[in-house]
């Protein structure tokens, strides 16, 4: 008996710290947030505990008119849609730009690869906020890019590069590109290059080889990269705040607003729960994709 209980104690001791941390910093806050989202709103901030209701969730799509009737309100829905659209755009640009980078890295010599991986991860050494400010310097009306183009005579008026969706997409792509490049690189690196030779040998051109051999084998890495870029983009706060201006609010900013200036904690919490739902949907589709892909071949 003693012999069998001791490993169990041991196992609990081993898993304990991690489980405790998850519980304290993940499960409890999440439950708290869910709980807040169904409480009453205190107009001076905070919540009225005990006034249970689902007003916060109704607010996502409907608003109560002055006469008490409920009408459809798509303003918040637009912000959610814009978030999804900008995240999808970021994901797509990252994929299109990141794949060739990863392919280039994977086909270098061993020594070069280490250098290139280091270079890809280099931006992480600087704070995200600082990097976004750097983009402001580049993109603003008299920033580096506009000034250079003006000086070259390509344009006569500064291009509106900052405070729009394009700026947000550029900033997000820049921030999350490594999350796309690294998983794709790791799946490309595992490909036996002799398969590429076999493909050439069997009359496949470079393009056909890419399409029929390399892309299918790199697919798991591409899906992983897409998830890793899409999910943090969806919840991003700093980049749309700094580069997007007031007109390109994303869910993250909306949530921030509810807990700050708008003083609507239950609605902020409800938005948080909704964002979580979106991420769960994305991850589930990834898991399903991955399973079908695993059946297609490793």
């Amino acid at each position: 008996m003693r012999a069998s209980t001791r490993p169990l104690v041991f196992r609990i001791l081993l898993i304990g710290p991690a489980a405790l941390a998850m519980c304290l910093f993940m499960v409890i806050p999440l439950m708290l947030m869910g709980w807040i989202s169904i409480q009453g709103r205190d107009y001076s901030g905070g919540v009225l505990w005990g006034e249970i209701g689902f007003d916060a969730y109704t607010r996502l799509f409907f608003e109560r008119e002055l006469d008490g009737t409920i009408a459809l309100n798509l303003n918040y829905f637009k912000i959610i849609l814009r978030s999804i659209w900008l995240s999808a755009l970021t994901m797509t640009i990252s994929l299109v730009v990141g794949f060739p980078v990863a392919l280039f890295m994977a086909t270098r010599s061993q020594r070069w690869r280490a250098v290139l991986i280091f270079m890809v991860t280099l931006p992480f050494w600087t704070n995200l906020l600082v990097r976004n400010y750097a983009w402001i310097l580049l993109l603003r009306d008299h920033g580096t890019i506009n000034n250079t183009l003006l000086w070259l005579g390509v344009i006569s008026e500064p291009l509106p590069l900052l405070h729009n969706q394009l700026a947000v997409a550029i900033g997000l792509t820049y921030s999350f590109m490594p999350f796309m490049v690294l998983p794709i690189y790791s799946s490309l690196e595992k490909i036996d290059f002799r398969l590429v030779e076999a493909s050439f040998d069997l009359y496949a051109s470079r393009w056909q080889t890419l399409k029929r051999v390399i892309l299918p084998l790199a697919f798991p890495g591409m899906v992983a990269g897409c998830i890793l870029v899409f999910v943090p983009s969806l919840g991003s706060y700093v980049t749309p705040e700094l580069l997007g201006g007031g007109k390109t609010l994303m869910i993250g900013n909306l949530i921030g607003l509810q807990f700050g200036a708008a003083r609507n904690w239950p609605f902020g919490a409800a938005l948080g729960m909704f964002l979580l739902l979106l991420v769960l949907i994305a991850l589930t589709s990834y898991a399903r994709n991955y399973r079908t892909n695993a059946q297609v071949g490793k």
Binding site: R194, E197, F200, L202, Y203, A204, G297
Partner: protein, 376 residues
């Protein structure tokens, strides 16, 4: 059993150009101090419908030569003609040549049938034709029941067959095989050797087979080129290579062999007559006349030596060890000058030799079984 010998040599007088005519191929990898000459002025002609083997130890350049023909590497200099046409400037996907890779390089994300149809699809063959050929190939390599299987779900021997079918499906002018049997266990390898020979005869495609296994080369080939250090040392039928090696390396690489230093016999210098330490004479059928004072190396296969009691006209020796091998017995003996020799005698003959270690013996060898080697 030498299957290769049973097949008559392909005639070169059909008027057709050689399947491969390579001239003065040089391939240098790297540059400067680290430069490595993988192929050193190699010229070779491979005939139509031939089973041609490139044989040599690892690093001898045989795989490099294959890769040059396939188009995966570009030669530093030299030309390669395929059926009389220069293919040097063609990328691999434009050469009517297919390869069976050493590790098979089958596409892991496709089924057996998809692997086989890949080359046909890339050639834009009609769907119906592709399907017919795939079925034909599946039955050719006896894998009909495995068409829908994944590559990871079949055994090494089956993967080998799929790799063959995939390379044969587009009906290439030339099939290159890069040590395709080296990953298989012995019994499977023996079966596949016969299978390959059968496929080559059935399809009539020229095969270029790369191996370091001399037995494999002797069993399957119409002709063999023995390579070492980036050069082709000797080209010939398996029997040529085995019975009449021209180089010390060729003699030593293929089968067991005794190498003996010999000089001209007496002062006569009669053509084809040599002496070992003044004992002899030992006759060589196709030897050149040994010049006075010149010493040569004679190569003698252990199975060509006959042992007897010491007698007039026999060369002297002393038995050192006798090793029984079932089908035959190896007699290790030494010559008066200390050279160690081996004689292999079949046990099936009635005449069991009554020797024990330490006995003085006499030995002789048929003049047709002695080769005079060029020292390289």
């Amino acid at each position: 059993m030498i299957i290769g010998d049973a097949v008559s040599e392909p005639a070169s007088s059909t008027g057709k150009p050689d399947a491969i005519a390579a001239t003065s191929l040089i391939k240098v990898f790297g540059a400067g101090d680290s430069a490595f000459k993988a192929l050193d002025n190699v010229s070779i002609n491979i005939r139509q419908n031939e089973f041609f083997t490139l044989l040599g130890p690892s690093g001898c350049g045989k795989t490099t030569l294959l890769r040059l023909i396939a188009g995966f590497e570009q030669p530093t200099s030299g030309t390669i003609l395929l059926n009389g046409e220069n293919i040097i400037d063609l990328p691999p996907f434009k050469r009517p040549v297919n390869t069976v890779f050493q590790n098979y390089a089958l596409f892991p994300h496709m089924t057996v049938a998809q692997n086989i149809s890949f080359g046909l699809e890339m050639q834009n063959r009609p769907k119906a034709e592709t399907k017919t050929i795939v079925d034909e190939m599946l039955s050719l390599v006896r894998m009909e029941s495995m068409a829908g299987r994944r590559i990871t779900e079949i055994s090494g021997g089956q993967q080998q067959r799929v790799a063959l079918a995939r390379a044969l499906a587009p009906k290439p002018k030339l099939l290159l095989l890069d040590e395709p049997l080296s990953a298989l266990d012995l019994q499977l390898r023996k079966d596949m050797q016969l299978e390959l020979k059968r496929l080559q005869l059935e399809t009539g495609i020229t095969f270029i087979f790369v191996t370091h296994d001399q037995e494999e080369a002797l069993t399957m080939s119409d002709r063999i080129a023995v390579m070492d250090k980036g050069q082709i040392l000797q080209v010939g039928t398996p029997r040529d290579i085995y019975d009449r090696p021209q180089h010390r390396f060729v003699a030593g690489f293929i089968g067991e062999i005794n190498l003996v230093q010999a000089g001209p016999s007496g002062s006569a210098g009669e053509p084809g007559e040599y002496a070992i330490d003044q004992t002899g004479p030992i006759h060589v059928q196709e030897g050149k006349a040994a010049q006075q004072g010149q010493s040569v190396t004679l190569a003698i296969r252990p199975e060509c030596i006959s042992l007897s009691l010491p007698a007039e006209g026999k060369l002297p020796g002393t038995i050192s060890t006798i090793v029984y091998h079932g089908t035959d017995t190896i007699y290790h003996y030494t010559l008066p000058n200390g050279t160690a020799m081996r004689a292999r005698c079949q046990n099936s003959t009635m005449t069991t030799l009554p020797f024990v270690a330490g006995d003085a013996i006499g030995w002789s060898v048929d003049s047709r079984s002695v080769s005079v080697l060029e020292d390289k």
